[in-house]
Amino acid sequence: MPDKNASGNASKLTDTGRIEIRLAGEGGQGMILAGIILAEAAAIYDGKNAVQTQSYGPEARGGASKAEVVIGEGQLDYPEVLNADALVALSQEACDRYASNLKRGGLLIVDAEKVTRLPVSHAVKVPVADLALQATGKAITANVVALGVLVGLTGVVSRQAIEKAVLGRAPKGTEEINRAALKAGLDSAGAELHL
Amino acid sequence: MSRLEQHSAYNYLRHTKKFPNVWCAGCGIGIVMGALIRAIDHLELDQNDVALVSGIGCTGRMPVYMDFNTMHTTHGRALAFATGLKLAQPRLKVIVIMGDGDALAIGGNHFLHAARRNMDLTAIVVNNAIYGMTGGQYSPTTPIDLRATTAPYGNVEPPIPVGELAIAAGAAFVARGTVYHAVELDRLIAQAIQKEGFSLVEAVSYCHTTLGRINKLGTAGDMMNTIKNNSVTLSAAEKMSEEDRQAKIVRGVLRDVERPGYLRLYDQVIERAIAQEASHAG
């Protein structure tokens, strides 16, 4: 087995504007849905190309799980993350398991309360779950808060796109809390940037 | 007095690498596992003399946690594997653990014929009324009108009456219990294991993760309450009208007859073969 990192930043050389993002958390935290939303924001609302993959299986029921999103301008070849430009991790186990191929200098966003051991020296720590609770009263919106943080920090998709994508997936009657969660994430990213 | 009171059920578990188990929080399959262990403990069987054979599904994952001779086979075929094992090692108590899809959809034919032959096996069917492992498709026991991922408009296929079917096919012992009535389940399983021939225990345990979620039936606890409220004992059921009874989960021993098990039947074959051989030689 070759070292997966051996191709370095090679991906950039192949697909135009290729950006690789990994979203990880515990089963039930909704990170797979977050991945789908992010990919939809890029593919449907931002007019880019996007591919989303995820880890399936019994372990998706409990334990850590992840979604991957690759975004680019034209054809996207390899559909999985080669060297993540960004990783969002909402639990310690998810962070431990999935931080391995974060690109050197890549962005790591973690839930400040849940992830205490960090694999890299610099990481953006946001109390994602707390923000979700504050903003919506529902811990389950943490995934949308996380998307807000990611988009706020990276601009990987436009704010309009992510909002449309979130609302497009929101079950009837939950539009408002999802909008609030997204805003909370985006705002906290703004705050982060100004730190 | 059972050994459990001296040394706990944990003696029957494989601790290494295996826990916590794979099931969703609150899943009744684990309760059935507990009942099975208590039944075996109560019967004071030697662990080396017990084999657990399962098919594929959430239920099929059960044997790996338990410290017996264990076999996780292919989907629907557990009874056929178990038949071979039992015939090769008649000394083993062979207990076959299946989901409803496993036992009655893809495995229906083996179920039929194991019962017909009165094969000396104990079958435990965890009936969660759905295909749990694959994410909630309807099974041959899904109640009418409940939704499933492949029955988005509600199931229209009449569910199979598991016990009645086993009886028609010829099973010597047929019982039904539920995970709410866990201690009763111990007893039913213990009775089944002691029986000569084919014995069946159906353990009702609705899957909250798929069936429950899709049909908005609430938490694991809510579904426990559903079972509690919807089930009656056989003796209570006998006093009910046919119609009322149809809506209930009837618990208890539905059949218990003495019929020679397959091994004893096959002894006749061996006897006749040897007799014929002797008469040819003589």
Binding site: - | C24, A25, R38, G221
Partner: protein, 85 residues
């Protein structure tokens, strides 16, 4: 493994002491428990509550009558009840 029973809830202990009949000591294996709440919700004596890790602990230990409902119904075999003399 968390043996929560090592932290008895004093208030509950106080009320139950007056009771007669069998009593039980509840042991929970935290690393196996998945926090499904079945034991908490169905304990006939309302002995149990969930802690901050979503594991049950005997919030009201003295009320336990060692009926073993929790032990026989824990899907994760994460509870043992020891009768107390």
């Amino acid at each position: 493994m968390t043996e929560n029973d090592l932290q008895p809830a004093p208030a509950a202990a106080a009320t139950a002491r007056s009771k007669s009949g069998p009593r039980g000591r509840v042991i929970v294996f935290g690393s196996w428990c998945k926090g499904c709440r079945l034991c908490v919700d169905f304990c006939p004596k309302h002995v149990l509550a969930l802690d901050e890790n979503d594991h049950p602990y005997p919030a009201n230990p003295e009320a336990c009558n060692a009926c073993r409902w929790c032990e026989t119904h824990c899907p994760d075999l994460a509870i043992v009840v020891k009768p107390v003399q």
